[in-house]
């Protein structure tokens, strides 16, 4: 048949939809909300997945991070003030790792300590990260002002630091911060760079043991180690607590992505042997990522399944109304048959109507879904991403709903005996 004739049929089909606007709208509602929720669910799923990738991807999927953890204190610890508690990864571990485990590109040492930082009379409680210059590159810690730490700083044991921009305000620095002196433990460190304000997100922050306020100061590893060693002393009311952690963190990067999990297993075995008291933690971003992705997938499927149920209900709604319409329009069907309509014309007519209803409903549903996502993200702060594929998917689903829900009523209409239909009042 000529397409234009189809268009004419669609146009006349629309006439009967427009003729009963209330019924048409009510029929559409099921599909509108079904598609709306599919869009919203997929968007939230995609948003969560994107956030996950950002968060964990930031750690570098080729990296393995070992953190030292303070083991549970023995019961009599309270009595033993002035006790030096020493735990965690040692230089010996580090050497063993580098010497015995194959495929390691580098194993960067990190020493972390809590410090009070002074600038004039202003002070900030900060976390001092003694890191090698590669560390900043590895985690995309780029400076927005000044420069990064260099090897020369490390060799010369320079007293320089790179700080978070958030600290500038707290320290009362409003001018160009480069070259400003900061007093840390009665020593003066000079600011050489300010990090771009791009803090780590939840998971990455935890994995790298970065504090929540992002008051981080990065200083050359050797400068700290050579001057202060690994002990740190904290004075609390009445007692002094001393800790000795040789390496708070070791960031290992593996040459070959395929070997990450194997290397992680070897690291685990080595550390387990050296540290039966479990005063360390092994973070494998790649493993976490695939675990989380799996969970996310299951979650997505569940979300879409729930949303599909509302689409199904929408489809049943259309089928139901169309069946009623067929009964109501039996006479019209008889007239059309008397005027020469074949069975397939009648089927086409009713399918056109259901597909039109469901597709328009689907299109409105997409808008509703987009709106729903806006509202949800606004009020909950969840991240969401509306993808083109989710729009195409839900539009095709709604079209399919139109076809499926229309088939039975349409076939019933076409199966009517022309003369019986014509006599129907």
């Amino acid at each position: 048949m000529i397409p234009q004739k189809h268009l004419e049929m669609v146009r006349m089909g629309l006439r009967s939809l427009v003729g009963y606007p209330m019924r048409t709208v009510l029929t559409m509602l099921g599909v509108v909300f079904g598609v709306g929720s599919v869009i919203a669910m997929l968007a939230l799923g995609a948003g969560a997945e994107r956030e996950l990738l950002q968060e964990i991807g930031r750690l570098g999927i080729q990296n393995i991070i070992i953190n030292s953890i303070k083991p549970e204190e023995p019961k009599d610890a309270a009595q033993r003030s002035n006790w030096i508690s020493s735990y965690g990864i040692t230089f010996k571990d580090h050497r063993q790792i580098v010497d015995t485990i194959p495929g390691i590109e580098r194993a960067l040492p990190v020493h972390v300590s809590k410090k009070t930082v002074w600038h004039g009379s202003r002070r900030v409680e900060a976390t001092l990260y003694a890191v090698t210059p590669e560390h900043l590159d590895m985690f995309d810690l780029n400076t927005s002002f000044g420069r990064n730490l260099t090897h020369l700083d490390d060799v010369k044991l320079s007293r320089v630091c790179v700080i978070r921009s958030g600290m500038l305000k707290e320290l009362g620095i409003y001018q160009d911060p480069i070259g400003f002196p900061l007093n840390i433990d009665n020593e003066t460190f000079y600011v050489v760079g300010v990090l771009a304000e791009d803090s780590f997100l939840g998971y990455a922050r935890k994995a790298l043991s970065v504090d929540a306020k992002s008051s981080e100061i990065y200083v050359p590893y050797s400068s700290i180690l050579m001057r202060h060693g690994t002990r740190s002393i904290t004075r609390r009311s009445g007692s002094t607590e001393a800790t000795d952690v040789e390496l708070n963190q070791v960031v290992i990067s593996v040459t070959d992505l395929d070997q990450v999990l194997v290397t992680a297993r070897m690291l685990g075995t080595l550390l387990e042997r050296n540290h039966p008291n479990k005063d360390y933690e092994l973070v494998v971003p790649l493993e976490v990522l695939s675990q989380r992705q799996k969970t996310q997938q299951v979650f997505n499927i569940a979300l879409v399944a729930i949303a599909s149920i509302s689409l199904l209900v929408g489809g049943i709604g259309i089928a139901n109304i169309m069946l009623a319409t067929v009964t109501e329009r039996t006479k019209e069907i008889g007239v059309r048959r008397a005027l020469g309509a074949r069975r397939h014309h009648i089927i086409a007519q009713f399918l056109t109507e259901t597909i039109t209803i469901s597709t328009i409903g689907g299109a409105i549903g997409v808008l509703v879904g987009v709106g729903l996502v806006q509202v949800l993200t606004f009020f909950t702060g969840w991240s969401a991403a509306i993808t083109l594929s989710s729009v195409i998917l839900s539009l095709s689903i709604s079209m399919a709903v139109g076809i499926i829900s229309g088939i039975y009523p349409a076939r019933r209409a076409a199966g009517l005996d022309p003369i019986a239909a014509l006599r129907h009042e």
Binding site: I2, E8, M9, M12, R15, V335, R336, G340, I419, L422
Partner: protein
């Protein structure tokens, strides 16, 4: 004599599946020649509409043969019967049977949707046919906005759109008053004069008198067939 357009031979029609079935047509023999104008009269329930539905290929005979233009209708498929209704037959009903949500113009267009001709090529034709029944200025109106006589004229325009050789009318003036009946009957007369065969049911003897031949149906048999 020309070959008949319609030829019924010993036609019976029963209604119902199980015994006792309702025996409505009890052996009808009827020929309608090309260009002939036949009226069918008879009491209510005598089987007039049943007969006309058979002629219109809307229903099947229970027994006997129906030859339309010399071809046995019982051998045709559902689609072929639809094609015959679309191209060869024009129906006019007592209750007009217009589609309420469509305009006059669209109602007239409906048979074209099911035929081979394109819509664009026939727009002009639709206007022409609507004009021939005197409703040019009402093309965009809905049936609910028209009088009974106007509705019947739309129905006639619709019956004519595919230029069928045979018109079947089931009490076309049954729902109309005398004045409008006259208009509609005049229109049918003209269509007959243009060479179409017409079979019309009526129970008004005066209306029947306008035809060339009257067929009187009583209790399922033809009791009288004569010139009007």
């Amino acid at each position: 004599m020309k070959a008949p357009v319609i030829s019924l031979q010993g036609v019976h029609k029963y209604y119902g599946e199980q015994e006792p079935r309702l025996h409505v047509l009890k052996g009808i023999d009827l020929d309608v020649a090309e260009g002939e104008y036949v009226s069918i009269t008879g009491t209510s329930g005598s089987g007039k509409s049943t007969l006309l539905n058979l002629l219109g290929c809307l229903d099947n005979t229970s027994d006997g043969a129906y030859l339309l233009n010399g071809r046995d209708v019982s051998s045709f498929s559902d689609d072929e019967l639809s094609k015959i209704r679309n191209e060869d037959i024009g129906f006019i009903f007592q209750s007009f049977n217009l589609i309420p949500q469509l305009t006059v113009f669209e109602n007239v267009q409906v048979p074209l949707l099911y035929g081979p001709r394109s819509i664009a090529a026939t727009t002009h034709l639709c206007h022409e046919v609507i004009e021939s029944v005197g409703l040019s200025d009402r093309s965009e109106h809905l049936p609910s906005e028209l009088s009974g006589g106007e509705c019947q004229r739309v129905a006639i325009a619709r019956a004519l759109i595919n230029d069928p050789a045979l018109l079947l009318a089931d009490e076309p003036t049954g729902n109309l008053d005398t004045g409008t009946s006259e208009e509609v009957l005049t229109l049918i007369d003209e269509l007959h004069q243009q060479g179409r065969s017409v079979v019309m049911i009526t129970h008004d003897p005066e209306v029947a008198n306008r035809s060339q031949r009257r067929v009187d149906l009583r209790d399922g048999v033809i009791v009288e067939a004569g010139a009007a």
